[in-house]
Point group: C2
Chain length 122, copies 2
Amino acid sequence: MADQRRNLPVLDCATEPLVRDPLTAEQAVSIAAVFKALSDPVRLRLLSLIASHAGGEACVCDLTPSFEVSEPTISHHLKVLREAGLVTSERRASWVYYRLVPGALAGLAHLLDTTEHAAAGR
Amino acid sequence: MADQRRNLPVLDCATEPLVRDPLTAEQAVSIAAVFKALSDPVRLRLLSLIASHAGGEACVCDLTPSFEVSEPTISHHLKVLREAGLVTSERRASWVYYRLVPGALAGLAHLLDTTEHAAAGR
């Protein structure tokens, strides 16, 4: 099983809700890079397929049948998700298995949280 | 005061966490467009400045001093955020005021929620 801590979430250092304080330029650059990884429909579907797959992991062989794009294209998109700290990968026998990094999505969700904002009556 | 309901959040129809079920191709296209709006550092900082500004709204005159880019560039980025359903705008006298659409960020945060996923031991 892949070690989910292998790729540390990019947002560890910047998870305060963006409604609380203005982001610094550095924080914005890091966070924008993660949102850029999520800004492609194929990558979003891949992330969702991996996360909702039985056991919380999926190999490329589970993923490619859902798409009308080539396996190298799928592999490229998976690499982008991995480099953004959103998924981890592990090779087992002849296949690479992908698994969500839960902390990364939770960090993004916290960043977008508006609970405090709403409570302040804004 | 701007009517926050003027721009309906883009994600009203697709707010189930993406860890629960695979996104459809149509959902992925809509959601990717919102993440694309968030994938630029200047736009992220603008969104954060608007959301954290006193009273929850900011005019262009409050925003431009924080950036080393021109006012037309700022206006372009604000237009992208507005078209993605993330902010609303209202002209008052000679300035346009921007305000967060709370439902949009909450919808994205819910989409990225992994609570159920973690509870399932994935």
